[in-house]
Amino acid sequence: MPILFLCLLCLIAVPSRASDLASLANQPYWQVLGHYEAAVPGARPGSSAIHDTGFFLAADGQYSAEHELQATLAAMQAPVGDAPDQHAKCRFPARRQWLASQLPALSPALAPIACPAYDGWRKAKSGASLLLANGYLSNPASFYGHIFLKFDDADNSNDLLHQSINFGAINMQGDSPLVYIVKGVAGGYDAEFQEVDFYRQKHTYGDDELRDLWEFKLKLSQDKLEQLLAHTWEIKNKKYTYYFFKKNCAFRLLELLDVTGSHYAEQANRPWLIPLATPVNIHQANPDAFSAVLFHPSRQTQFEFALNQLTGKALAAFYDIVAAAPAHAGWGALDSLPLAEQQALLDTLIEYGQYKKLGKTSNTPDWQHFYRQVLLKRLALPASETSVQGSIEKTYQYPDRPPSLIGLSVPLKRAAEQQITIRPAYYDLLDADVTHPLFSQLKMGEMVLQGKQQQWQLAQLNVIDVVAVDNSTPIQPHQMLGSWQIKGGWGKLAASQADSDRHAFISGGYGLAWRQQKQLMFRALPLAALQTDFQRVNPYFGMEGQLVLKATPRLSASLTWQYLHGTREQNTLQRREIDTRLVLSKQLDVRISKDIGNRTLSLAGNYYW
């Protein structure tokens, strides 16, 4: 018996040299598995980004990669017992796989065991995708979009039934928007990866918030997929700290993907990470990262697509029915249309009802009744052969443009100054694309340097510059939409001001806009502004009008007129500009700008990175 006991002891072994363990713990892959970071605000160097005791086997595992490795090895070799799901091999399958590959002598001891919970969760997961939700200007937390992971399910061809993994802040109920912004930036929230049925995500983004989703199918070998699944199992529902600008959903997803051997998180060396730009960044680092890009249209996009298919009498009948709604005296010209047009018209009315959420109990009884009549009328006709969603998916292409811009503008008259513009994020009225709200602008941290005779100085710092137009689909021909803007920073309110008038400022307004499809937009709004040198505050009031034309996917132009009257200085500031943009490639454009007031004409070349 003692001999048998000694033999058993021989089987339970660990690498005999402490230096071997230390070396192993310093391996990049172990650091990735433990999410150890070089420097985290408020934490010791080398500590893990995860601060959940359920993730560590060593008492100080959060702070010591080596101790965590030692504890993991010991736990992996402990007897299995009656609850295999609680065994380290089942709780940490990715660690087990990697340690077995690094320690061949321990392979038998580190061999896999049956893990009912993990095996059941992992079963049938056959692929993975990144899902990207368009930006949303109605909520500061969603300005830059959202990104999450989805696993394909070989047992379900319908992706509504697939599982998604979503990283986000938790426990923020009751917090106001201001508190959310402050805590979100400063790390005041915990966050975790949670599983969410994909149909819920699609409902939230596509139906509730009317945001399109883009799906990037990851090209992963079976081994890499296994690594990703194993590590997702290890980290789901484990607590991180959430930081809005850098350690957000985009960064944590890149970290998760790095378990497959990529180095996306490591290469994400900017002080901020934009979810919307994540697929672009991945594609730049690895052109072979995606096998396909799919488009999941929002309810609004589906409705607009269906509406654009109607013509002639069917289109006229649609507008008549909607104009009279929710009162419903009859179907008008609908019954006289051919069957196919009746089906198309009623399908469009259903899409309209889904887009406007007419059937919801939160809506008025009249609208609910109207929508029910539409459904009943449609139920009485034969089923449609094709679906709107199936038709629309092929018509959209992911734009793939990087988020930051640097540009050089040269005057076409010698007396004016050259300008360098550096814009970390994100898009303006002329370069906004299909992933951005229509006819909108979101610029943060934009700097303009002006140079004359080799002397350069900071001329403008726009900390925030947002223009938003209500993205509702106009139903009536001259329907007006809401529009708002806010701008704040340091510099001039208008180019006509003297250089000595560069001060801190904030301006904003709310007004009306009108748009024709996705090509033409006009908006007008009253403006208020404050400019201060911190000794005096100068208020301004005025108006702004703007016309934006997107003539083709490559050519766009805007005409801006702004008038401000200083009530204290009794001065008038005017801005009259024409800007045109021509896209040369996904990373290059040229622009010609004419400042009508100052009679300057300039040519700019911009590079997106």
Partner: protein, 166 residues
């Protein structure tokens, strides 16, 4: 003896026939389902808060607890509860898909009822007909979305069982 056997056979045939007739005559959308029998609550998407559920925030969408399984495990199996929650959460989309006669939500529901692809067309047609009857006869309560979801669940389940190879 032969007369006795024939009588028994006739009785049995009558019993089955009357059961089938009873089944055909039962009110559309009625019947046991996980909503009525498993305590599924009216959990809806938390879209009332300003931050909503999408924006880098994870909400406790909660209320998915099945508070009691008063009926047989058959009615309240994990699979059936999952289907019921799908119907509850996507009722509006399912109703729209049925009206049009196609759509990813009604296809997903049929998948969840284990209806093979070959039979889904017939099942959706059957479900359209029954849902239309329900709606036109005032069988849907404008104010009670959970009750409506329960009825739609039964419509879909009956359509899948009658039209599909399960």
């Amino acid at each position: 003896m032969k007369l006795k056997l024939a009588s028994v056979a006739l009785l049995m045939i009558s019993a089955f026939a009357s059961t089938a007739a009873f089944a055909d005559n039962k009110e559309v959308g009625s019947g046991p389902n996980p909503f009525t029998d498993c305590g599924i609550g009216a959990a809806l998407f938390p879209n009332t808060h300003w931050a909503a559920v999408s924006s880098n925030v994870i909400w406790d969408i909660g209320s998915t607890a099945v508070t009691s399984a008063t009926m047989s495990p058959q009615t309240c199996s994990a699979k059936k509860v999952k289907v019921a929650m799908f119907v509850r959460d996507t009722y509006e989309q399912l109703a729209a898909d049925l009206a049009k006669g196609n759509g990813e939500h009604v296809a997903a529901a049929m998948d969840m009822f284990a209806c093979q692809a070959a039979g889904q067309g017939a099942a959706i047609s059957r479900a359209r007909k029954d849902f239309g009857s329900l709606a036109s006869q005032g069988g849907l309560n404008a104010a009670d979305s959970l009750q409506n979801a329960g009825k739609l669940y039964n419509v879909l389940e009956n359509a899948a069982q009658s039209s599909c190879t399960i």
